[in-house]
Subunit: 242 residues, 6 copies
């Protein structure tokens, strides 16, 4: 992969299951790492509740997939796959990771509740963790200095998880190298994609976004807070071609 540029604060992505980040926003990761930004994944279960795949196999798939996207990866234990609950102790644990990795950009699954229950709960935990990481008086976190992230974006693992009422930022992932890396990263989760529909779902979503934007493929990220700009030239075109 390309070298990491020190002036770009790292990207930190959280996933509830070994394949969530790749399916939800893998193309964004590929694009950022190829532009020189370091990326790190924190996966909060071993996918042990899925219908297919053993935990060991899924960890191996996730490692291969992260490598294809140019990211490093670690696994943590919260309550286990399909057992996640919103507990402050988890938010503090995630806040500790934020203080350690000190990212600029944080990605988490969206807060829409009508999806896999672990996704929305992890999104809540990450959002709260991003606040707790800033507060100086939390005892459990005192080993590491407070950290303020630049941006928290939510990704949507499925179309149903796209939050209404937030204007998305669309990342252009049309470049052949990016699209290929993303596709390969999804396919690396062989235990999940044998029927192929997961990959088709994501590529169809991205193609539809791309068609609407007049480009090839695009992935939507949903900002938790309004961006602050110094110039309108920072934004590119908008997505309306029909």
């Amino acid at each position: 992969m390309s070298k990491s540029k020190p002036e770009l604060a790292p990207l930190l992505a959280f996933g509830a299951h070994p394949d969530d980040i790749e399916f939800g926003c893998g193309g964004v990761i590929a694009k950022e790492t190829r532009a020189g930004r370091a990326a790190h994944f924190v996966i909060c279960s071993h996918g042990e509740a899925a219908s297919h795949g053993t935990p060991a196999k899924r960890v191996a798939e996730a490692k291969k997939s992260a490598a294809l996207l140019g990211a490093t990866v670690e696994f943590i234990e919260l309550d286990g796959d399909a057992h996640l609950e919103v507990r402050v102790v988890h938010a503090i644990k995630l806040a500790g990771i934020l203080r350690r990795v000190r990212p600029g950009i944080v990605l988490a699954p969206s807060l829409v509740e009508n999806q896999h229950p672990d996704h929305a709960k992890l999104g809540q935990l990450v959002r709260d963790a991003a606040r707790l990481a800033r507060y100086g008086g939390i005892k459990e976190l005192r080993r590491l200095p407070p950290h303020v992230i630049d941006q928290l974006f939510f990704y949507a693992v499925t179309p149903e998880a796209e939050p209404p009422g937030i204007t998305p930022m669309l990342m252009d992932v049309s470049a052949p190298g990016i699209l290929a890396a993303w596709t390969a990263a999804m396919e690396a989760h062989g235990s999940q994609v044998s029927a192929r529909q997961y990959v088709e779902l994501q590529l169809t979503r991205a193609r539809l976004r791309g068609l609407r934007a007049g480009i090839g493929h695009a992935i939507a990220l949903f900002p938790n807070d309004p961006p602050v700009l110094d110039s309108l030239a920072q934004l590119g075109r908008s997505a309306r071609r029909f």
Copy 2:
């Protein structure tokens, strides 16, 4: 003012009354023109229904104000102040201006209906005009080639006009020169601001936005369509400091 950079497509701002652009987003204009982007104002009445100020005086104030912001200005007649209606003939007229000026960025008053009725109606007309400017077969527009803008943003003349359900883009207007230029441009509308509360309203709004973003002052723009990004580095920090 600074020289216009040819690589930045011009900004075109529409106002229903001689002071709407300045009050709603004057600081944004100042920032963009100082960064080298050409700006042009199209004002769609002479403010003749206001409680204070003659049309002639208001035109003079608008010209002075636009100059302070580094923008050029023209006046057009639609239905007159407080008499604007949403007619296709108006949208086509505005589309013709879009084809002539060929802007990258277009600013228009927001579509929220519970404000001065001319504001929301002009916002609708500009939004429709941005589409009509693209269509090749409209007879009245055939003199000029179709034009596709990059971005349409709405500005809110008052807090009530801020549209719910759209994530704003916050422009940092804290630099002393920018804030001074904006304030001067608002005060140039002497017939309207004798009581001063209009200026205080806008500076209070911008200060509140700035406090929330951890900066001095900020102005919100509301995108009509999702932005398409090539890198997350295009966005700065997000606005959440409390």
Copy 3:
């Protein structure tokens, strides 16, 4: 085509342009006509403002396309392509057509305003017409007895036109014959689809809906009013497969 079953009240679909019905919900039409329901299209312009295609050519394309879907078609004049306005006289004209055709199901473009301006305006006119068709005292309509439709559904010509806040009804259009008829009907609009992206846009949308529902392809219709059911067995499965 299959024979019309008299016990099924006809379907009446309104389009602002010669290809709107086909792109927005052509697969639904094919499905209903093949099930024995008569379908009739009312097209409210000749598409004369489009970048491509003469009115004569577009009328011919629409006739061919309607035939492929098993529907009859008529053209009416309101204000012309890209010139439509919401006038009561138009709503009354459409109400007169409703009284003449006496449909059970009515389809109209959605009311979302951030799309081609003719679409949302026609949607408003049809919705109002469906009420006016019921009122006994409207002079212009007295030649024909009042008519109460069963259901008004909105279709969305583009993804942006899908209304938030309404639960869609998803029509399964996966059967090969249906999908082929729909595709052929879209391609019959040769002046518009030379670049092919219109057809790809619609098939991609329908495939994404289908993937989410665990079927092949699906088209969303948005009810104007809540359906009244006599049994939950009237509804099939719901659309959630991920």
Copy 4:
């Protein structure tokens, strides 16, 4: 009661308290069982926190009421009346019941939070349980094969519990036998309805829905996911008579 038709997958309704199902959607139950669909109630407390009625009395009332509606009933213990919390262990317990009963249609209290806290929490648990019932790898559930339900509908025990942003499906419960069965089932909860206002509240709600739909009485159900239809003939009329 009428015999159950094997081709209709059973209906499974969850209630937080012994009278919630009856008050929220008892007429729907009567209608479905009389059409030959088996119905089963799972009640998740004994109503021990209510101002009136002992647990023993309330269980007896619920049994009588369920019988009047043609349903079977079972009681389970989660955290107790007014003490329910959203715990994964509860969702898994409910998922186990879903795997055992294998319903087509599932009814649960709505997710609106500004109502009795047990209601919204049970709604969340049921929604999550409907997903967990599908996942093959959840250890606690391995005794029974995964199950995919057809439809999850929410019912609203009070008007305040009706969720905005979901198009309701209105069930016509006007037939005298249905209305009488529903009323009797509500009145079977004698410890709760001595003041009668609970029954009046529900009949007034249903009459208002019915008046709007041009029928006698109607009960609203709120689908969790869009219905998939094979024909528009599956839907009846829509509810708009004023």
Copy 5:
């Protein structure tokens, strides 16, 4: 009726048809006039498009009904029943009435579009008129000094017309005299209520609101702008009894 108290600025209610005010909020009118506030109705058509009743009969009914509520009434011509359009000339005409009557409280039909089209359009016209009445420079209005109203409330003629996203103010109309006056006023529209369902619809709505509030009957008004209070003691109880 009771004498008008000069310290209470009059109430001015607008209706699109001769019976709208009575059906939508007649109980509120009765309550206010009996408390000593003058009330005046402005009716903007003669109801000539209705299925039943001649204009002359309907005017007579409206006069009788207004008298029963203690209000005066006038008729104006805009575009005619079922023909109303949102034109600035109409808004200015209504603004002139506002300047003449100089009300504190203004009532208008709600802005929800999925109802009789005249209702929402009149609501828009009144809302805009309330602004235009304040502007000093509108030529057509110069005969009368500007006027600032205290409060604009919307009433909903049908349940479908109740606007989401606005917290209603519930007026207690339970007192026997008030309820009787309201009922009589509705029944005075004999040409419309022969089938009785209009009256039943309104009383059912009000009873449902009343049950929820723990009182007899209540009517909801929807404020256009947030109320400003000097003390929380100004508000009574809130409406949540279940």
Copy 6:
């Protein structure tokens, strides 16, 4: 302070941290106590997770601040600062306080989730507690008779915490004595306001509300349930001056 009037049921305000009530709605408290209403604060942590200030210092500050506002104050322990979870045991504890204090008006932090996590969770707990306080059968609460509050209002500690979709009630806090008392109460939290921006944030918010309402300063409260009124004269003017 002024004497408490026995006819005004007390106000009970809940805060998650020692300064939340003051920052969120201190001016409202000052206004109510000066009008003779007793006010009591329940603070649910000692602020021990903040970046500045020891628990002891913060308790002292809160006591001084409450005294400046004319309120009494008590501290309770739930899960600790930045550790609050939504547990039924907490809601029951708060319900016990409601039964003891027997307030008419209750204030709690808003339910918007994208703020300090303790705020929204406390808001949920208070809302649920207000219901539990009414139920006669909850064992833990049997020592004290049930209590029904008059009104629950939410306050917003930051602008981001203002709930969309609820019409606020604006309290006029412009009187010099009120504004001074509020400012002094905020400044009494010396450990938090050394940088002064917290105070400036709140006064800027209140000034912006005031400007919009045509008064000096105003604080928004968000009702949990619709108010029930006996006369429109109970409400003052509405907030729309631009």
